[in-house]
C-alpha cells in the first residue's frame, strides 16, 4: 500500500547540511499499524510530511497504491492527501469556528461524499460524543477534542492514518482513553496507520515499531520498553 524507495531529504542551516532521511526505505502493508520512534530532530515529522505529500523528498519515490506522489504537482498531492490520508495532530487542530458536526463534515464536503449526516452520526457514536455535535471545540476538554480529531481523520475512510503524537498533549488517563479509541476504530477495523509517539502505552497497538537514526530506518522488536 505504501512504499518509500531510496528517499532522501536534507535541510540546510546556513551552509551546514543536515541529512534527515538518507536513502530511506520503508514498505507498509494495508492494515499495518507502524509506530515511529526517534529522538527529537531525528526526522519523524519530516517523514510524516513526506508521506502525506506536504513535503517532497530531494530524491527517491513514494508510492501510495502504486501512484508515485513525488511526481505530482502540489495541487495533485493535496487532492491525494484529501482523499487518502487522515491526519491526527498532537494539538488536535480542530477548526475553532466550526461545531463538532461541521468539523466532521468538512472532509466529507471536500471529497463530495454522500450520506454525510449518517456518517457523522455514526462516527460520533463510535467516539462516544454523539451528544456534542453542536458544540464548539473550545467548550470540549482535551480528550474530547482529540476524539473528535480522530473522528475527523477517519470519517472520509482514508487509506492511511498519520498520527503525530496523538497523546502528547493529554494527561495520562486521557491518553489511555485515546489509545483505547485508536485500538477500536483503527486497529480493529484493519486500517493502516503510522504514528509518531513517545508514549510506551501506544506501542501495544503496533504491528511494527521502527526508529529513525542517521536518516535510516531501524526495525525494533515488538514489546520493547520505550525510554
Amino acid at each position: 500500500m505504501l512504499e518509500l524507495n531510496n528517499v532522501s531529504k536534507n535541510y540546510f542551516e546556513g551552509n551546514t547540511k543536515h541529512s534527515v532521511l538518507n536513502n530511506f526505505e520503508l514498505r507498509i502493508a494495508k492494515g499495518e499499524i507502524v509506530i515511529l520512534l526517534g529522538k527529537s530532530g531525528s526526522g519523524k515529522s519530516t517523514l510524516l510530511n513526506i508521506i502525506s505529500g506536504i513535503d517532497i523528498p530531494d530524491s527517491g519515490s513514494i508510492l501510495i497504491d502504486g501512484t508515485d506522489i513525488t511526481k505530482l504537482s502540489e495541487k495533485d498531492r493535496t487532492l491525494i492527501r484529501r482523499k487518502k490520508i487522515g491526519f491526527i495532530f498532537q494539538f488536535f487542530n480542530l477548526i475553532p469556528t466550526l461545531t463538532v458536526k461541521e468539523n466532521l463534515q468538512l472532509p466529507l464536503e471536500l471529497n463530495n461524499e454522500d450520506n454525510q449526516e449518517e456518517r457523522i452520526k455514526s462516527i460520533l457514536t463510535e467516539v462516544g460524543l454523539s451528544n456534542r455535535a453542536d458544540t464548539y471545540p473550545d467548550k470540549l476538554s482535551g480528550g474530547e477534542q482529540q476524539r473528535i480529531a480522530i473522528a475527523r481523520a477517519l470519517i472520509h475512510s482514508p487509506d492511511i492514518i498519520l498520527a503525530d503524537e496523538p497523546t502528547g498533549n493529554l494527561d495520562y488517563e486521557t491518553g489511555l482513553q485515546i489509545v483505547d479509541l485508536l485500538d477500536r476504530v483503527v486497529k480493529q477495523k484493519g486500517k493502516t496507520m503510522i504514528m509518531v509517539t513517545h508514549s510506551k502505552d501506544v506501542t501495544g497497538l503496533a504491528d511494527r515499531i521502527i526508529s529513525l537514526k542517521d536518516g535510516k530506518l531501524i526495525e525494533i522488536k515488538m514489546n520493547i520498553t520505550v525510554e
Binding site: N49, F92, T97, L98, P107, D138
Partner: protein
C-alpha cells in the same frame, strides 16, 4: 454554504472590531472619493443646466466682437434675409443684497442671479418656459412687455427673495445699482426647475437699458438643421463675428476646471489608498492569526487555491459592506464639500449656484470599482501568502516572524526599484497630470517597503536607550515591535503614509502661499485699488466709465495711476483672458520675468507685443518670439510674444498687452480697474473720500475701493479658502490611518494574550503591561514619522515641481519647513499613543489564568 465558507464568516463575526475597523477604513476612503466626485459633478451639472436653461433648443450661437452684436445685424438676418428660428439674447449677472430680519439681528448676504434679456416673440422655438408648454406664467404679461425693467422669475426665486408680483428689487448689474420690477412668475416642473431658480427674464430692450448696452446684444441664438443654412449664416457674418455650437461655453467651463477637479480627485484617492493599506493590514493580520488553522486546512486536503479564494471572499465581503456604508456617508459628506467646492469655483472660475446633489451612473460605478475591486486587489498578496502557508505549520507552534525578517533585504531592494520606477514615470516628459499621480504610487509603495528596515534600525538604536530609561519593560516594548514585525510594519507604513501626505500637502501649500504672497507684495505696488463690484473674486466682469480715470487723476493727492481693462475672448472653444494695461513705468518692476530680458521686453510691449503669464505660455507651448493669434473686433490678428512673466492671479493664464494697442483692435470701452499711487501715504483716507465724492456724481455707479493691505489680505483669504478642501481631505486620511494603527494594536493584543498571561503569571503588574504598550506605540509613531518626513518632502517636491506645474504651469517656491516636520513627528507619535490606549488597557486586564488555559 460549505463549511470552509462558514468557518471564514464566523471568523469575521468573531472579530467584529478588527473587521469593523477595516470596513470603516474602506467606507471612509470610498466616502471621500465619491463625495468629491458628487460635489464636482453637481457643480458642473448645475452650471450645465443653467447654460442649457439659457440656451434652450438653440443649436448654435452667433457671437460678435468685444462690444457685442449691433441689434441692426439681428434685424438684417431676420427681416432682410428672412432667416427663421433666430432670437436675440443679452446675458448678465446681477447681485441682490438680501437682508434677513430676524428677531435678534439683521443679516445680509449677496445673492447672485442671471439676467436673460430676450425677445419674447422670437422665443417660442428656443425656451419652453416662455412658450407655455407645460409651463404657466402668472402675472401681467402686458406689464412685462410695456413697463421698463420688468422681469419674470421662477417661483423659487420669488420665495427666496420674499417678494410678490408687483414688488421692486434693487440690483447691482455691471457695477451699477438699478431698480427692477417683478411682473410675473414662471411655474416650471421639469428638469429646468433648478436652473430656472436663479434666472431673471426680461425683455431685450429692458436688458439693453439695464446693462447699458445701448443698441447692442450679446449673441444671437439660432437653430440650424441643415448644412446650407449653416453656410449661409457664415457667409453673412462680418469680420470678427463667429458662429459656434451651443455647447462650446460649457465645454470651455469644463476645461477651466479640469486641473482643479483632477487635483481634488487625487487628494481624495489618497484617503482611499490609506484605506487600502488598512485592508492589506487587516487581511495580513488575519492570515498570520490563522496560520495554524490554515496549515490544518492544508493538511486535511484544502488546496492553496481554495485557501486564497477564502481570503479573497472575506475581502470581497468587507469591500461590499464598506462600499455600501461609504456611499451612504458620501451623500452627507458631499453636501458639506459642495459648499467648499462651489465657493472655490465661484471665487476662481465662474458663477454657479449649486442647490442639489447630482449623481451619475459613472460615479456609482467608479465608487463600487474602487471600494470593492480595490479591496480585493489589496487582499491579493495576503491571499497569496495564505495559500503558500506550509501545512507543516499545523504541527509546529513556533512563531514565523523570522520569515519577514529574512525578507527585509529583498523588500529594501524592491523598495529602491519601486522608487526608481516612480521617478522614471514622474520625470517622463509629459503634461499629463494622471501620469504624475501614477508615478507617485510606486514611490509610496517603495517607502512602505523600507519600513521593516527602518523598524530594525530604530529598534537597534532605541532598545538600549529604552532599557536605560525604563528598565526591562522598556526593552520589551522596543523588542516587541520587531518580534511582531509582520503585524507592526504594515500599521507603521499606513500611519507614515498619512503623515507623509500631511507633510507633503502642507509643505506644498506653504510654499505656494509664500510664492503668492511674495508675488502679491511685488505686484500690488499701488496704494489704492478701485474696481466695480465683481462676482468672481479674481476677475472683474463689470466695467467703470473711462471718465472716472481723469477725475481720479485730477485729485491733488494722487501721484500717478495705472488702469486696465479685462476681456474674455471665446476662441476655438477656449477662453482667453486678455488684460489691457495702462501702466506707469514705476509699475514695470512689479513684473518678474521668467523669459525675456525686461528692458527689451518692455520696449516691445510698448510697441504692441504681448506678455503672457507663465500658465498661459505653459498651456499653449509658447515662448518669447512665438506668435499668438487672437480674435479681434477686426478679425484674427497675429501678435508676437515679448515676455513671459510669473503670475498667480489665474491658473488659466493671462494675455497682457498695452492698452493703446488693445483699443486699436478691440472697441471695448470702459475700464475694469484703476490703481492709485498717493503722493503721501498719510493721505490715503482723504483720497478715498474724494473718490467717494466722484462716485456719487456718476448715477448708480458702485465702486469697490480697497487699500493695498486690504487687497493683500483678501487675496490671501481666497487662497486659504481654496486649499481648505485639501486640508479637510488630509485630516480624513489621517483618521483612516489612525484606524489602521488601532486595528493593528487590537490584533496584537489578541495575538499575544498567552504571552502576556505568562508575563502576568511571572509578576508583571497591569500598569507595567500598559506602560509596555504605550512605550511600544510611542516608538511605532516615531518610526512612522522617520519614514514620513523624507517621503512627505519628496511628495511636496513632486506636487510643486511636477503636478502643480503640469496642472497649472506655475513655478512655485519649495522649501523644507521645520515647523511642519516637528508637527508631523508630534502628530504621528500622539496618534499612535492614542491608538494604543484602549488596547493597552485591554492587555493590562488580561487574566493570567484565562490566557494560560490550554485550547
Amino acid at each position: 454554504m460549505n463549511n470552509l465558507t462558514k468557518s471564514s464568516l464566523r471568523y469575521l463575526i468573531k472579530h467584529p472590531w478588527q473587521f469593523g475597523l477595516s470596513i470603516l477604513g474602506i467606507a471612509m476612503g470610498v466616502a471621500i472619493v465619491v463625495s468629491i466626485d458628487i460635489a464636482n459633478y453637481s457643480s458642473a451639472t448645475a452650471f450645465n443646466l443653467s447654460m442649457n436653461a439659457v440656451a434652450g433648443k438653440a443649436t448654435h450661437q452667433i457671437t460678435g466682437t468685444s462690444e457685442g452684436i449691433p441689434d441692426s445685424f439681428y434685424n438684417f438676418l431676420k427681416v432682410e434675409k428672412g432667416i427663421r428660428n433666430i432670437a436675440p439674447v443679452i446675458e448678465s449677472y446681477i447681485s441682490i443684497q438680501d437682508s434677513e430680519k430676524t428677531k435678534t439681528s439683521t443679516t445680509s448676504a449677496k445673492k447672485v442671479f442671471k439676467l436673460l434679456g430676450v425677445d419674447i416673440f422670437a422665443e417660442r422655438p428656443f425656451r419652453d418656459y416662455l412658450s407655455q408648454t407645460g409651463v404657466s406664467i402668472d402675472g401681467d404679461l402686458k406689464n412685462f412687455l410695456t413697463k421698463p425693467h420688468s422681469v419674470i422669475l421662477s417661483k423659487e426665486s420669488i420665495d427666496k427673495l420674499n417678494k410678490v408680483i408687483g414688488d421692486s428689487l434693487t440690483i447691482i448689474i455691471n457695477g451699477k445699482e438699478k431698480i427692477i420690477y417683478i411682473s410675473g412668475i414662471i411655474n416650471e416642473d421639469g428638469q429646468n426647475k433648478s436652473a430656472l431658480e436663479n434666472l431673471f427674464i426680461t425683455d431685450i430692450s429692458s436688458a439693453q437699458e439695464l446693462t447699458e448696452k445701448k443698441d447692442k446684444i450679446d449673441y444671437i441664438d439660432i437653430i440650424i438643421d441643415n448644412d446650407s443654412k449653416e453656410q449661409l449664416i457664415k457667409s453673412l457674418l462680418p469680420e470678427g463675428f463667429q458662429l459656434q455650437k451651443s455647447g462650446s461655453r460649457s465645454e470651455a467651463a469644463e476645461q477651466m476646471l479640469e486641473a482643479f477637479n483632477i487635483n481634488l480627485t487625487s487628494l481624495s484617492l489618497l484617503a482611499l489608498i490609506v484605506g487600502l493599506f488598512l485592508i492589506y493590514n487587516t487581511m495580513t493580520f488575519s492570515v498570520v492569526q490563522r496560520k495554524v488553522l490554515i496549515g490544518t486546512f492544508r493538511s486535511i486536503g484544502v488546496t492553496s487555491n481554495e485557501i486564497s479564494g477564502l481570503i479573497l471572499r472575506e475581502a470581497l465581503i468587507m469591500g461590499i459592506i464598506g462600499t455600501i456604508v461609504g456611499f451612504a456617508a458620501a451623500y452627507f459628506i458631499s453636501k458639506v464639500l459642495l459648499i467648499f467646492i462651489s465657493q472655490t469655483i465661484n471665487d476662481l472660475y465662474y458663477v454657479v449656484s449649486v442647490r442639489e446633489i447630482y449623481i451619475s451612473p459613472a460615479i456609482i460605478i467608479k465608487g463600487v470599482a474602487l471600494g470593492v475591486f480595490a479591496t480585493i486587489l489589496s487582499a491579493i498578496k495576503p491571499a497569496k501568502e495564505a495559500s503558500e502557508i506550509n501545512p507543516r505549520i499545523a504541527m509546529i507552534r513556533s512563531d514565523q516572524e523570522s520569515s519577514v525578517l529574512k525578507k527585509v533585504p529583498r523588500m529594501t531592494i524592491a523598495g529602491i526599484l519601486f522608487i526608481l520606477a516612480g521617478a522614471a514615470l514622474l520625470l517622463f516628459p509629459s503634461k499629463n497630470i494622471w501620469l504624475s499621480y501614477f508615478g507617485i504610487l510606486p514611490v509610496i509603495i517603495g517607502f512602505a517597503l523600507f519600513t521593516p528596515l527602518i523598524i530594525i534600525l530604530v529598534e537597534k538604536t532605541f532598545s538600549p536607550v529604552y532599557k536605560k530609561l525604563f528598565g526591562i519593560t522598556g526593552k520589551m516594548a522596543s523588542k516587541s515591535i520587531i518580534q511582531n514585525i509582520s503585524r507592526t510594519y504594515i500599521a507603521i507604513a499606513a500611519l507614515s503614509l498619512a503623515v507623509a501626505a500631511t507633510v507633503g500637502v502642507g509643505t506644498m501649500i506653504s510654499g505656494f502661499r509664500s510664492t503668492v504672497i511674495n508675488w502679491l507684495e511685488t505686484r500690488l505696488n499701488a496704494d489704492i485699488f478701485i474696481s466695480a463690484p465683481n462676482l468672481i473674486s479674481r476677475r472683474n466682469d463689470a466695467v467703470l466709465p473711462e471718465e472716472l480715470l481723469l477725475k481720479i487723476k485730477s485729485i491733488d493727492e494722487v501721484a500717478d495711476i495705472n488702469f486696465y481693462r479685462e476681456l474674455e475672448l471665446m476662441q476655438e472653444g477656449k477662453k482667453y483672458h486678455i488684460i489691457a494695461s495702462g501702466l506707469n513705468k514705476r509699475s514695470y518692476a512689479g513684473f518678474q520675468f521668467k523669459e525675456g530680458n525686461p528692458d527689451e521686453a518692455w520696449k516691445k510691449f510698448e510697441n504692441g507685443e504681448l506678455f503672457l503669464s507663465e500658465p498661459f505660455a505653459y498651456r499653449y507651448d509658447l515662448n518669447v518670439g512665438s506668435i499668438l493669434q487672437l480674435k479681434t473686433d477686426n478679425g484674427m490678428r497675429d501678435f508676437k510674444i515679448a515676455g513671459i512673466y510669473y503670475d498667480y492671479a489665474s491658473d488659466q493664464g493671462l494675455v497682457t498687452m498695452n492698452y493703446d494697442f488693445f483699443r486699436k483692435h478691440w472697441n471695448s470701452e470702459g475700464l475694469s480697474g484703476i490703481s492709485v499711487f498717493a503722493k503721501d501715504k498719510n493721505s490715503l483716507n482723504l483720497i478715498k473720500d474724494k473718490i467717494e465724492t466722484i462716485k456719487s456724481d456718476i448715477i448708480g455707479q458702485q465702486l469697490v475701493v480697497r487699500t493695498y493691505k486690504y487687497l493683500l489680505d483678501s487675496s490671501i483669504e481666497v487662497f486659504d479658502r481654496t486649499f481648505l478642501i485639501a486640508k479637510v481631505l488630509q485630516i480624513l486620511s489621517v483618521i483612516v490611518a489612525f484606524i489602521g494603527i488601532l486595528s493593528s494594536l487590537m490584533s496584537l493584543q489578541l495575538e499575544r494574550s498567552r504571552e502576556l498571561g505568562i508575563l502576568r503569571a511571572n509578576g508583571l503588574l497591569p500598569s507595567q503591561l500598559f506602560k509596555i504598550v504605550i512605550l511600544q506605540t510611542f516608538l511605532m509613531g516615531f518610526t512612522a514619522s522617520i519614514i514620513a518626513l523624507p517621503l512627505g518632502n519628496i511628495l511636496a517636491a513632486i506636487l510643486v515641481f511636477i503636478i502643480n506645474k503640469r496642472s497649472f504651469g506655475w513655478t512655485m517656491q519649495f522649501e523644507i519647513i521645520p515647523s511642519i516636520m516637528i508637527e508631523a513627528i508630534i502628530f504621528s507619535i500622539v496618534a499612535a499613543i492614542l491608538a494604543g490606549i484602549y488596547p493597552g488597557y485591554k492587555m493590562s486586564k488580561t487574566s493570567p489564568a484565562n490566557a494560560l488555559r490550554g485550547e
